[in-house]
């Protein structure tokens, strides 16, 4: 039986300009840890990292699209399936608006409304860290903006007034509120709160 004693460690900084920060998600240091049940437990750095850089969108190009939790290629579903998953989510309530649901009392299609997610990133001007919210849990612009303002810890009483803008499917940034709520939910890709200078 081969006994392997290993002391693997992340590479230290070296003269050739190598930087620890270059390590992508997935590199980790391994410690042998015994828990109470005397089972060897692998301790790793968190595999999912939400870093500030990403909030500014700088690392977007490094991510493959569809990997919403930041891990490339996981879960192992192919591109076709990832696209389908996106498409079924971005249609409001699963997209069965046009179907006649004959005997099923409107249950058909994406049927479990509460589980039809639409996560979009939200940034507020002046705040480095972006957030993510599930648009499917809102019913109107009012509830959305109220929640957003409180989420970022600022309120109208502070004197700052914010406008809600969004990026649509074509990549254009628009002011939210002009189109019906459902149309908005169907086309929004990300949100940004910007200070309203007119106030």
């Amino acid at each position: 039986m081969m006994e392997l004693q290993l002391g693997l460690a992340l590479c230290g900084n070296s003269a050739k300009g190598y930087n620890l920060d270059d390590f992508k998600i997935g590199s980790f240091e391994i410690l042998d840890v015994q828990d109470e049940n005397n089972v060897q437990v692998l301790q790793t750095l968190p595999l999912l990292v939400w870093d500030k850089d990403d909030a500014d969108g700088h690392n977007e190009s490094q991510r493959k699209d569809g990997d919403e939790n930041g891990m490339v290629g996981w879960p192992p579903v192919n591109a076709l399936r990832k696209k389908l998953c996106h498409q079924s989510r971005h249609r409001p309530y699963g997209g069965v608006m046009n179907y006649v649901t004959v005997k099923n009392g409107g249950v058909g299609g994406g049927g479990r409304g509460s589980n039809c997610y639409k996560y979009v990133k939200v940034k507020m001007e002046g705040i480095g860290i972006a957030r993510k919210i599930d648009l499917s849990s809102f019913q109107s612009y009012g509830t959305l903006t109220d929640t957003l303002i409180s989420m970022f810890g600022k309120s109208r009483e502070n004197g700052d007034v914010y406008k809600l803008t969004y990026q649509d499917k074509e990549g254009d940034w628009l002011l939210a509120g002009d189109v019906p709520w459902r149309t908005f939910v169907g086309s929004v890709q990300r949100l940004k709160l910007i200070r309203d200078e007119d106030y």
């Binding site: 590479c11 300009g17 190598y18 990997d67 919403e68 591109a79």
Partner: protein, 605 residues
């Protein structure tokens, strides 16, 4: 050979004329047997190579086009695989390789009678397709599974020039859709089509051209439409193709303007006319109201693929359970545990089950599908031998139950969506469960692991999984010992793919020779140092050691630094010269530059 009657043994086999040997060999068709025959003697090798008609190349870089044509002078059918499997999940960067062009250029002159080309995960350009259509007068079969790099213009060339085309199957390829008119390039004289699969195409093909093509193809057995064909159009097509055995619908929802009941009746009637229908697929955006249209055929179905039906269908399980003869089922997790239980009670012929995630990126479960569903099917379906199952929770007990009930399992791929998830009832690793799988399922050929796993599971695998040919690992194990168990124990291992596991130099170098008995090894985000890669290449000149690293030149980092990705495969054609800037192939000669990018690139893709 051992079944030859005793008196044959007195014949000196080597005195038989080559033509006689060739005639005998022509009845031996599997690659394995052919390969065995060719090793018996020089005479047999000579006879075998002259009459070999089909060749399968599992790794396009294991051999070269020139070696192929030198050995086999008269090939009629090639089957070539390119990129490693993890390319399906975006782990192989774009531009890595697997170009088909060099192959077709060589075969165009060497094999004028080539009839069949089947490719998987290769980059195929329009020029290649044009060359196929012009070089092989008797070309019959083109299958492009998970390929990319071509457009509908290339397809137009195939349609226009391949007079005897029988099969055009685009698999799940990425095709640049320039125009739907390519289909109109099939001449009116083309009546030989047996199989047409265009399901992966995004845009609309000319429906009238499609209808006419189907109408003049009396031998058509397989037809898979793309999403752009809506349900109201199906009756028109099916009327001309009532002899179909396999049918893939397009989008299974109609225009808002359509009269639902009329569409319903027309489609049901069209299906009732298809007496030979055994397999159904497609069903994009399947509206629940239209689902009962398949009732006329569902009891005859042996294969059903609902994995693109992204709309939840009520009582999905109940619907499927009417398909008593089902052997193969692909479905989304909308089927839930309750649905699988119904299927387990009714579909006793089920051999293969694949349950895909409807929402793989949801933060938590969006459907009620757990380990229970898989246990139910394993217990209820006596012929179950192939499983692919995505879920969010698992227990060791469930796996043990599955293993005990299905000892003839051949393929078992479990994906617990959150990495390193333990047994949810005991919080222990899933070592015992998977250990039971390999212990009881002695015929297991393919295994994918997930969940919380220590080195112990690899010990079980090394000891028991003697017939295992392909193993996929992610976020598993504690140390090099895990990798060592697998490499030293799994005698039949051909393909090993690993991501994000703490495996490194020691196990790899200690088992280096094993790699020459395998097709390939993939390791990404592990702990293999560049230094070890160089040692491996030096030790084993019969391997190509490819370091794939998008961080730049390996020399800009210490030698002990882990490489991003490592792809090692055996080859008889030496290093390749079509590598992109982020791939370094380590030459075995330490006196030359220790590694190099390819500077020469073979002809464009």
């Amino acid at each position: 050979m051992s079944t030859l009657a005793p008196h044959f043994r007195t014949v000196m086999v080597n005195t038989l004329p080559l033509e006689v040997l060739e005639h005998i060999f022509s009845s031996i068709t599997t690659d394995k047997d052919r390969n065995s025959i060719s090793l018996v003697s020089k005479t047999w090798n000579e006879a075998e190579r002259c009459c070999r008609k089909n060749v399968f190349i599992g790794n396009c870089y294991a051999v070269s086009p020139s070696i192929l044509i030198r050995r086999f002078p008269d090939i009629r059918s090639v089957n070539i695989k390119g990129k490693p499997h993890f390319a399906d999940f975006d782990l192989v960067p774009e531009g890595w390789g697997a170009y088909f062009y060099p192959w077709v250029v060589t075969m165009a002159t060497a094999y004028p009678f080539l009839e069949e080309i089947r490719l998987k995960r290769m980059v195929v350009c329009d020029e290649s397709l044009e060359l196929i259509s012009k070089s092989f007068k008797n070309f019959k079969v083109l299958v492009l599974q998970s390929c990319e790099g071509f457009t509908t213009d290339g397809l137009a060339a195939i349609a226009a020039n391949c007079r005897n085309l029988r099969e055009l199957d685009l698999g799940e390829s990425e095709v640049e859709d320039l125009s739907g008119h390519w289909l109109s390039h099939f001449p009116d004289s083309c009546t030989s089509l047996v199989s047409l699969n265009i399901a992966c195409l995004a845009s609309e093909v000319s429906f009238s051209a499609l209808e006419r093509l189907v109408a003049r193809s009396p031998h058509l057995r397989t037809l898979r439409l793309n999403r752009a064909v809506s349900i109201e159009k199906l009756p028109k097509l099916l009327r001309h193709a009532s002899q179909l055995v396999e049918f893939g619908t397009g989008s299974y929802s109609a225009d808002t303007q359509a009269d639902v009941s009329e569409v319903f009746v027309n489609v049901s009637q069209a299906f009732s006319g298809c007496n030979k229908l055994k397999g159904l697929s497609g069903f994009w955006e399947a509206a629940p109201a239209y689902f009962p249209t398949i009732y006329p055929v569902h009891s005859k179905l042996t294969s059903l693929n609902l994995s693109y039906a992204t709309v939840e269908i009520p009582d999905l399980g109940k619907l499927i359970s009417h398909c008593h003869n089902l052997q193969r089922l692909w479905v989304l997790d909308y089927v839930e545990d309750s649905g699988l239980e119904e299927i387990a009670n009714s579909c006793k012929e089920l051999q293969e089950l694949r349950v895909f995630p409807s929402d793989p990126f949801a933060p938590g479960p969006n459907v009620s599908l757990t380990e229970q569903g898989l246990v139910a099917v394993s217990v209820g379906c006596p012929k179950l031998q192939s499983v692919l199952y995505f879920c969010r929770q698992m227990t060791n007990d469930a796996l043990v139950t599955i293993a005990r009930n299905r000892p003839y399992m051949i393929r078992f791929r479990l994906c617990i969506i959150e990495p390193q998830t333990p047994d949810y009832s005991t919080l222990e690793p899933l070592d015992t469960g998977f250990g039971a799988i390999v212990q009881h399922c002695k015929e297991l050929r393919r295994l994918s692991l997930s969940g919380l796993l220590t080195d112990r599971v690899f010990e079980y695998i090394g000891v028991h999984a003697k017939k295992l040919e392909m193993l996929s690992l992610a976020f598993a194990g504690d140390s090099d010992l895990g990798l060592h168990y697998v490499l030293s124990g799994c005698e039949s291992l051909r393909k090993l793919e690993i991501r994000d596991c703490p495996f490194g130099d020691e196990a790899l170098l200690a088992n280096a020779a094993k790699l020459e008995t395998m097709r390939s090894l993939w390791m990404s985000n592990c702990s293999v140092s560049f230094e070890a890669c160089k040692l491996l290449a030096q030790k084993l000149p019969g391997l190509n050691v490819e370091v794939i690293d998008e961080r730049g030149h390996p020399d800009t980092r210490p030698e002990s630094c882990p490489v991003e990705k490592l792809y090692v495969y055996r080859t008889v054609s030496g290093r390749r010269f079509d590598t992109p800037g982020f791939v370094w192939i380590i030459d075995e000669d330490p006196s030359s530059t220790p590694y190099s990018n390819g500077n020469r690139s073979l002809a464009s893709a």
